[in-house]
C-alpha cells in the first residue's frame, strides 16, 4: 500500500518536472511567444525592469527577462551571445568596441550624504580627497569633529568606473573606504549613518539621502541637460551586431516617447 503511494508520488513528480521543462517550449510554440533576455549593469537593471513591466503589458506575447551581473558581465554575456541585450553603465572600452551600443538615456552620479548632514556642496577636489583617504574628518570640511564614513562601490562596478573617471582623476580610492555592492546598498548605508558619504545613480535619489552640489552645481535634471553638472555617464544597451527582431522591438520601445517618459519619471535624463 505504502509502496504504491510512493510510486505514484514519484510518477507525479516526474510528470510535473516534465511539464515544467516543456512548459515554455510547448506554450511558446503554440502562442508564438518571444523572449528577450537582458543582463548587465545593476544600475541599469531596475530601470530596465520597469521598462520591461510596461513593455510586457503592451505586448503580452513578449517575455523580457532582466538579470543583473554588472556592466562588465553584461558586455561579456553579450559578446558570447548568452543574452540578447547587454546593459552597461559606462562607456565601452577599446577592446569592447566590437559591440553595437545604443545610449538609452544618461544618468548623473550624485554625491550623497545623510539628510542630517548640514553640508550642501563640496568641490571635486574635496570629494577626491575624501575617497582618496586624505580627508578623513568632517571637521576639515567645516562640520563637526567626526570621522567620515565614506562608502564606495566594488571593483568592476560601472558606477565606480564612471566615478573614478569623472572624479578621481587617476587617484586611487583608498583601501580604508567601505564598499557596498549596489546603488541600493550604498544608499541604505547613507540613509542610516549620519556621517556617511557615497555616490549613487541620480535616478535613485529620493528623500532618504541628500544629493550634494558639486562645485556649486546641484545634481538636477536641468543642470545635467544644460551640461553644468558634469558627473554624468550614459546607460547603454549593447547588442552583438544588429539586434534581432525581438530585441529590436524592445529597444525601439525604450527609445520611443513612451519609454523615454518612463525613464524620465524615474529621474534619468532622457535623450529626446
Amino acid at each position: 500500500m505504502n509502496g504504491t503511494k510512493i510510486r505514484l508520488l514519484i510518477l507525479l513528480l516526474i510528470f510535473g518536472l516534465f511539464c515544467l521543462s516543456c512548459g515554455r517550449g510547448g506554450a511558446g510554440a503554440g502562442k508564438d511567444q518571444h523572449t528577450v533576455t537582458i543582463a548587465g549593469s545593476t544600475s541599469v537593471m531596475p530601470f530596465t525592469e520597469k521598462l520591461a513591466e510596461y513593455f510586457m503589458l503592451e505586448n503580452p506575447d513578449y517575455i523580457v527577462e532582466v538579470q543583473g551581473g554588472g556592466s562588465t558581465a553584461g558586455v561579456q554575456a553579450c559578446m558570447n551571445y548568452t543574452v540578447d541585450i547587454g546593459m552597461s553603465s559606462r562607456h565601452l572600452k577599446d577592446n569592447e568596441k566590437a559591440l553595437t551600443d545604443v545610449t538609452i538615456c544618461n544618468d548623473g552620479i550624485a554625491i550623497v550624504v545623510n539628510p542630517g548632514n548640514p553640508l550642501d556642496t563640496l568641490t571635486i577636489e574635496q570629494i577626491r580627497g575624501i575617497f582618496n583617504g586624505r580627508i578623513k574628518n568632517w571637521k576639515d570640511l567645516g562640520w563637526i569633529d567626526r570621522e567620515i564614513d565614506a562608502v564606495s562601490r566594488e571593483e568592476g562596478s560601472g558606477t565606480r568606473g564612471s566615478f573614478e573617471d569623472l572624479i578621481m582623476n587617476k587617484l586611487e580610492i583608498d583601501d580604508g573606504i567601505m564598499v557596498q555592492d549596489s546603488n541600493g546598498s550604498v544608499k541604505e548605508v547613507i540613509a542610516t549613518d549620519p556621517y556617511a558619504i557615497g555616490y549613487i545613480s541620480l535616478g535613485l535619489l529620493d528623500g532618504r539621502v541628500k544629493g550634494l552640489a558639486v562645485n556649486g552645481v546641484s545634481p538636477t535634471m536641468e543642470n545635467i541637460k544644460s551640461g553644468d553638472y558634469e558627473i554624468v555617464r550614459p546607460f547603454l544597451y549593447l547588442t552583438n551586431g544588429e539586434p534581432d527582431e525581438c530585441a529590436r522591438t524592445f529597444i525601439d520601445f525604450v527609445l520611443s516617447m513612451e519609454g523615454q517618459t518612463i525613464l524620465q519619471k524615474e529621474g534619468l535624463i532622457d535623450i529626446l
Binding site: 551581473g69 562588465t72 561579456q76 568592476g156 564598499v179 555592492d181
Partner: protein, 284 residues
C-alpha cells in the same frame, strides 16, 4: 535472474555512493582550475601576502582579507564560545528533562534562521548601536563578531553538549563522592574530560564563522584595509567573493577563485582538525 538483479542494484548503489566523491572532486577541480592559474601567473606570495587588492589593475593581494577572516572568526569565538559552552553545560548538567526537550529544538531553530536574516537584523540593530555608543560607522569588526558569535552558537552548543554527555557518569559520581560540589565537578572533572570534543565544537564553529557570507557582507563594511581597531570595517574572504563575483570577468574572476582556493584550504584544514578531535575522543 534474481542474482543478476542484486548485482545490478549493488552496482547502481556503488555509483550513487561514488557520486559524493565525484562531486567533491568536481568542486575541487573547478575551483582549482579557475583559481590556480593566477597563483602561477602573479605569484603565490603576491596573492597570499599581497596587501593590495585592485584586480582590474593587476593587484591580487588578499592578505588583509585572510587576516580579517581570522579576526572576525576569533571575535565570533570570543562572543559565542563562552556563551555556547555555558549553554551546553547547562543543558547537560543542570536542566531538567522537560527543559531539555524545550531548549534543544529552540537552539536548532537558531541554527535554522537564514544568515540573511541575521545580517539584516545586524544592520538594523547592532550597527546603529555600535555607531551611536562606540563610534565609527558601525559597520565594523565588533558588529560582525557579535552577529557571527550568535550564528555559531548552535554548532558550539550541540557538539560541546555531546562531548559533555559522553563523559562517563562514574567520573562525576567519583568526584561528588569525594565531597566536591557540582561546580567543582564540572570545572575540574567534566570539562577537562570533554576537552577534545569541546575543542572540536569550537573549531567547527570557527569553520562556520569563516565560511559565513551573506551576513558578513551586510555588516562588515567591506573595506580593503586590515582593521586597526574594533570599530574599523573589514572585508573577509567570503565577502570578497560574494561582492565581486557577479561583476568579475577575466583575471578579476580568476582572482576571486584564488580567494576561493584559499578559503577552501583554510576550511578543510579546520574541519580535519575538528574531526580529528572528535575521533580521538571516540577512540578513548
Amino acid at each position: 535472474m534474481a542474482f543478476n538483479k542484486e548485482k545490478f542494484i549493488k552496482y547502481i548503489l556503488t555509483v550513487f555512493a561514488l557520486s559524493s566523491l565525484f562531486f567533491l572532486f568536481l568542486i575541487f577541480a573547478f575551483i582549482l582550475i579557475e583559481g590556480l592559474p593566477l597563483f602561477l601567473k602573479v605569484g603565490f606570495k603576491n596573492i597570499i601576502f599581497g596587501f593590495k587588492w585592485a584586480p582590474t589593475k593587476g593587484s591580487f593581494g588578499i592578505f588583509p582579507m585572510i587576516v580579517s577572516s581570522f579576526l572576525v572568526t576569533f571575535g565570533a569565538l570570543i562572543v559565542g564560545g563562552p556563551l555556547g559552552l555555558s549553554c551546553a553545560v547547562y543543558l547537560a548538567e543542570y536542566s531538567g528533562k522537560r527543559m531539555k526537550m524545550l531548549l534543544k529544538p529552540a537552539l536548532e531553530l537558531l541554527a535554522g534562521i537564514p544568515s540573511v536574516v541575521y545580517g539584516f537584523l545586524g544592520v538594523i540593530y547592532i550597527v546603529p548601536l555600535v555607531r551611536n555608543y562606540l563610534g565609527g560607522s558601525g559597520f565594523s569588526l565588533i558588529s560582525t563578531s557579535v552577529i557571527l558569535g550568535v550564528m555559531i552558537l548552535p554548532t558550539i552548543i550541540s557538539i560541546s553538549f555531546d562531548a559533555i554527555m559522553s563523559v562517563p557518569r562514574t567520573y562525576r559520581e567519583g568526584s561528588l563522592a569525594m565531597g566536591a560540589t557540582k561546580w567543582q565537578t564540572i570545572y575540574k572533572v567534566v570539562i577537562p574530560s570533554a576537552r577534545s570534543g569541546i575543542m572540536a565544537g569550537f573549531i567547527l564553529g570557527m569553520g562556520r564563522a569563516i565560511g559565513e557570507t551573506m551576513a558578513v557582507i551586510m555588516i562588515a563594511g567591506n573595506a580593503l584595509k586590515i582593521p586597526t581597531s574594533l570599530l574599523d570595517p573589514l572585508r573577509t574572504l567570503t565577502g570578497n567573493i560574494a561582492l565581486e563575483l557577479a561583476y568579475a570577468t577575466g583575471d578579476h574572476r580568476l582572482g576571486l577563485f584564488s580567494t576561493g582556493v584559499v578559503l577552501l584550504v583554510i576550511i578543510m584544514a579546520l574541519n580535519y582538525i575538528a574531526n580529528f578531535g572528535i575521533k580521538k575522543k571516540r577512540l578513548k
